[in-house]
């Protein structure tokens, strides 16, 4: 019963990506030699110990930082916008109403006001925010704000969605609901999603594949297929034996890196 989306998001080819930061105490290699091929329309998750450079990788992909070496090719032909990012802290502008926030990426790109209003309305309906259009972000709950951030990303019709632990700050119930909504949106729109998380459960709920990153510098250690069919029921999925086995498998890969990251933090 899966409805195949009419088009698929961008294919992403990453080759030899490195990022070196200059600090007063010398150079720090944040990410090293990352090669990745992300298929068009894939939901790709990245897990790794904190400080492993996964956020840096995403910021480079989103064009917020420049790599020190390597290439990124994103094939976004047929899409209005190459990418849009959803941050952990919603990043909704406190001085704009929900409506203005959702329409921000359309306003910057000169979409006429009439068309903007229609698209913003549709995006707000998609995430259930229409009653709150005139509210300011501080009047919304954390979950509502994150819905607003997701609407702001989807409304620009990007080929790729970069998401940096978008639900990490939410309580468990809100997180589950928003995960379900995100999967539903992804299934119907066919966008490519690159999703960073520190939760293995979340990676298994959402992703087609999950990459585990190493600590200091960040490399791709292993990529694990997540074979669950769509549409997924996250709660039912979580009690299947395959889910448990995969979770343990990913944890085994991740465990060493978490310990290594902690050891180097203690040593520093």
């Amino acid at each position: 019963m899966t409805t195949e989306p009419a088009r698929k998001g961008a294919k992403i080819e990453i080759a030899g990506l490195r990022k070196i930061f200059e600090t007063p105490r010398g150079t720090v290699e944040a990410i090293a030699d990352i090669d990745l091929h992300i298929a068009a329309g894939e939901f790709f998750c990245i897990v790794g110990p904190s400080g492993c450079g996964k956020s840096t990788l995403l910021r480079i992909l989103a064009g917020l930082e420049r790599q020190s070496a390597g290439t990124i090719a994103v094939d976004s032909a047929g899409w209005a916008v190459e990418n849009a990012m959803v941050f952990q802290d919603s990043g909704l502008f406190p001085w704009m109403s929900v409506e203005e926030n959702v329409g921000f990426g359309l306003m910057t790109r000169g979409v006429p006001a009439a068309e903007r209003a229609v698209r913003v309305e549709a995006a707000m309906r998609l995430v259930g925010l229409t009653q709150f259009r005139r509210h300011f972000p501080h009047q919304l709950s954390g979950g509502m704000r994150q819905r607003g951030a997701i609407a702001r990303a989807f409304v620009t019709d990007p080929a790729v969605l970069y998401m940096d632990e978008p639900f990490a700050a939410l309580d468990a119930q809100n997180r589950t609901i928003l995960q379900e909504e995100l999967v539903r949106l992804w299934e119907t729109t066919g966008k490519t999603v690159v999703y960073i998380t520190h939760s293995i459960d979340e990676a298994l709920f959402l992703g087609d594949r999950t990459a585990v990153m190493t600590a200091h510098p960040g490399r791709i250690k292993e990529i694990i297929d997540v074979p669950f069919p769509h549409p997924r029921n996250l709660m039912e999925l979580s009690v299947t034996p395959v889910f448990g086995e995969l979770k343990l498998k990913i944890w085994r890969v991740l465990e060493d890196e978490v310990n290594r990251a902690r050891a180097s933090e203690d040593g520093a």
């Binding site: 990012m85 990043g91 990426g105 702001r152």
Partner: protein, 261 residues
């Protein structure tokens, strides 16, 4: 919040505002009683009732209303002439490194100079007319505004800059929709300080270089030893300060509705 909760909060606010009047009124009563009890020489320290009487006489003679208008005009004109370039230049400093490198040392050198020390220089340049008073107020208002605007614009939470860049904001949109609004709470803090400084400098400038205005009223009354008229001037400045500051808070509430209460 429920409607009844909101009504209750409003009532609390009204109550609190009434309570604000309590301590000044108590002080005035104590003052009156002390003078009536013969503590202090009434020629040098008039009672509140003496001041009130003189206040009324100066009102009906038209002297006080005219001085008030003159002083308010000088202070508000100077405030605006100083504050608007302060905002523009403060934002420019945050946007362009070059501007900051040029302007920063000038602020460091000029901000600490007492602006009244410039009064002779300003009189030489602009003469004894209205311009000189407005200029000295403008100079005084300019510095707190530029410093606060720059601080507000330079310290905007990085995530808003990231979002704006990721969503394709042009430099113009970045400036007008992100940096300006992000800096607005601190801009208003700067404007508030600048307004108080404008009153201080405006009045003081009238002591030494004017033939009208509340400052002139205070100073000339002192020279003629009309202490009650001097107090009328002082009280008037205080009242004007309270009124403008209250209006200012209302404006701020309208302009920054997103600021958490």
């Amino acid at each position: 919040m429920s409607m009844s909760g909101r009504g209750e909060a409003a009532r609390h606010l009204r109550q609190e505002r009434l309570l604000y009047l309590l301590s000044p009124i108590a002080l005035l009563i104590l003052w009156q009683l002390a003078i009536m009890a013969g503590l202090g020489d009434r020629r040098f320290v008039p009672a509140p009732t003496d001041i009130a009487e003189r206040f009324w006489l100066l009102c009906i003679s038209g002297e006080l209303p005219w001085d008030t208008v003159v002083t308010l005009w000088r202070i508000l004109a100077g405030f605006l002439i100083g504050a608007i370039p302060g905002i523009a230049l403060g934002l420019a400093m945050a946007m362009w490194r070059g501007v900051r490198i040029v302007v920063d040392p000038l602020i460091a050198a000029l901000f600490p100079i007492p602006k009244l020390a410039l009064m002779p220089l300003i009189l030489l340049a602009f003469g004894f007319g209205e311009t000189s008073k407005i200029v000295v107020v403008a100079i005084g208002a300019f510095f707190p505004v530029i410093v606060n605007t720059y601080a507000g614009a330079a310290n905007i939470d990085k995530i808003y800059i990231d979002v704006a860049r990721n969503y394709g904001a042009s430099p113009r949109v970045m400036f007008t929709r992100v940096v300006f609004y992000g800096a607005l709470p601190l801009i208003f803090a700067g404007l508030r300080v600048a307004l108080a400084i404008s009153f201080i400098i405006g009045t003081a400038a009238e002591f030494i270089a004017a033939k009208s205005g509340i400052g002139y009223l205070i100073w000339s009354s002192w020279e003629l030893l009309q202490v009650d008229a001097m107090f009328v001037g002082i009280v008037t400045i205080g009242l004007l300060g309270v009124i403008t500051s209250t209006l200012f808070i209302e404006v701020e509430r309208k302009v920054i509705p997103w600021k958490a209460p």
